[in-house]
């Protein structure tokens, strides 16, 4: 088991390709045909293109605060390729690639960040929970889902995500403990992108790494180079087989880097050095995978043309989101309860009276 070979107590990091795309661990290189590798790269490229466009739409004032994903595509797409239709994705709020892989559309993502709750109602994605902003709380939901899966003898695995900062929340430890005690099929991913807004991971924990947090709760854990698509894929594959077979939960620390800001409201120049960003640029997950493909001679696409295609697609979905119906008053109320209580009906009716008054006053 890879997990046994990369003991987090010894601070080992599982890696398959280096920054130049050269295979440094051939023995553990997952067996994937060229087509699949190309598909993975394209998915990463699409996620990055969409993410960059989202940031620019936000800057144009066409949507609100948005959390960029740039730099974290490899781990998200690797997870996306392992997850089956009935497996559960339980996101925090920086899992664009994984959400797209599960069938969430950019239109829905845009709707959400334009301020429509409707953007959390994923029409074509099965078993994807809405974005969960209260840090770390979603891990417990994943654990509960996994209990339900086990009790109902379903063939489903649960994939919750959390950031490095989130590991300091009590909910993180509680979720790992419950999942371990219940021996349920959860694959916890920590996207360690080095920062919780401005706070670096070294100020967040004195643990030698984040994967080591699995040890105390009695579940396998591994620190993986999160910008290495192959390592992430291999780790997820093994974790998936392990959990699916009824062995219980697994913790994966995906060691990566948030190349952009925490959100479009954040300014990273306040808390980190340019040199650090440049250093991490060398480990960019897309560049690494492309170098690998080029080295193998399997990348023959015109990337610029591809990006243009993706841009058109994203633009189309953005336009659809921008032309979404106006927000009706009804939508403020109708999903609060299965059956709307009379008091809420009255509040709505009172407000409609006010709107009439306002109309007449015009």
């Amino acid at each position: 088991m890879i997990f046994n070979d990369f003991n987090p107590l010894e601070d080992k990091t599982f890696r398959i390709i280096d920054n130049d795309g050269k295979v440094i661990n051939n023995e553990l290189l997952p067996v994937l045909d060229d087509e699949t590798v190309i598909k993975a790269y394209k998915a990463m490229l699409f996620a990055r293109t969409a993410d960059e466009m989202a940031i620019s739409f936000q800057r144009q004032g066409r949507m609100y605060t948005y959390p960029p994903n740039n730099g974290q595509e490899a781990l998200q797409i690797a997870a996306g390729m392992i997850m089956r239709e009935n497996d559960w994705l339980v996101p925090a709020f920086r899992e664009l690639g994984a959400m797209l892989a599960k069938g969430v559309s950019m239109k829905e993502i845009f709707l959400y960040y334009m301020g429509y709750e409707e953007g959390s109602n994923f029409k074509n994605a099965n078993h994807v929970l809405p974005i969960c902003v209260p840090i770390g709380s979603q891990l417990l939901h994943a654990t509960g889902i996994a209990y339900s899966v086990k009790l109902q003898k379903k063939d489903e695995v649960v994939f919750p995500f959390i950031g490095d900062g989130g590991t300091s929340e009590g909910d993180f430890s509680e979720a790992l403990n419950f999942a371990s005690v219940w021996k349920v099929p959860v694959i916890f991913t920590i996207q360690n992108n080095q920062y919780a807004i401005s706070v670096p991971v070294r100020s967040q924990t004195k643990s030698v790494n984040l994967a080591v947090k699995s040890v105390a709760f009695g579940l396998p854990g591994i620190k993986v180079d999160g910008n290495d698509f192959f390592a992430m894929y291999a780790a997820y594959k093994e974790a998936f087989e392990y959990s699916k077979a009824g062995n219980g939960p697994v913790l994966i620390e995906a060691y990566t880097y948030r190349k952009g800001a925490h959100t479009t409201s954040d300014d990273p120049t306040k808390y980190r050095a340019k040199e650090e960003e440049l250093e991490w640029e060398k480990a960019d997950p897309l560049k690494r995978l492309k170098k690998y493909m080029e080295g193998k001679g399997i990348w023959k696409e015109n990337e610029e043309k591809l990006i243009e295609e993706y841009k058109l697609e994203v633009e189309k979905q953005f336009t659809e989101a921008e032309n979404f119906r106006p927000y009706p008053l009804e939508d403020v109320f109708r999903y609060m309860y299965t059956d709307m209580p009379d008091d809420l009906k009255r509040q709505k009716a009172d407000y409609e009276q006010f709107l009439k008054w306002k109309e007449i006053r015009k």
Partner: protein
Amino acid sequence: MSVMTIVQAINNALDIKLAEDKSVVVYGEDAGIEGGVFRVTEGLQKKYGVERVFDSPLAESAIVGAGLGMALSGLRPVVELQFDGFTYPAFNQIISNVSRMNNRSRGRYKVPMVIRFPYGGGINALEHHSESPEALYAHIPGLKVVIPSTPYDAKGLMIAAIESDDPVIFMEPKRIYRAIKQEVNDEKYSIPIGKAKVIHEGTDVTVVAFGAMIRECQKALVMAKEAGISVELIDLRTIYPIDKETIAASVKKTGRIVIVAEAPTSFSVGAELMAIANEEAFLYLEAPPKRVMGFDTIVPLAKGEPFYMITPDRIFYEIERTVKF
């Protein structure tokens, strides 16, 4: 005197207290290097060092729980929780320990602690960034709950909060963090906790509000004046201990009360104010007390939020209906 925003005024209050009282410490998520996501603590770490102004790991329960420990042992912590909707992981520490330690220890252990956080809607934010949970905290015996509406009040109330030997929930109206600029004394001054302020005298109807809603009420007052209605506007400033005298005296004078707040209507501070009007001025009432408050719903995301937010015309609409009742 200096012209300050609410952000600057609170920063100034923290600065003054950090300088004069070595027991004051300031911390929270991103409160150190970055100076908080709204920059309320900006520059303080540089000035007072990382031992007194610092970033904590990301855990609200720990921020408050550890702050309680500090408060029990000689420090005066001023802790920051990043947003209204992120205070709930700390709720257990607040309701189970912070609010009770004085009573539990029969006065042996005081809790001189301030828990401050930005609150309220109207900024097109994501979920959990637009909430007004003042009633949740005011309902907990043992806490003081303070909400300023101006830079001047923010500074004076923050100084009083830090000097209080009881725990204070200090809620900052983020929507007007930088929207209002005002001349503020550079020197230290404090504003007593528990005292409301009549900010506009009138005779026809009492309007009670606090935080960001004061500004909306002032706009509604202009409309009311045009309609020939004389409004008495009270800024509550402290939610608890609530200033019954000021409210009762005003309602006795005007015979009418309209309460304006962003939080959901039911079981709210508005409900408490209506109770006060009924209990303290029942025989003076000429119209039913009225609440202009949020729906009993989640604050909608940006596209639906305009329905939810209380606007000057809606305040005026209810003022007029109450006066014409």
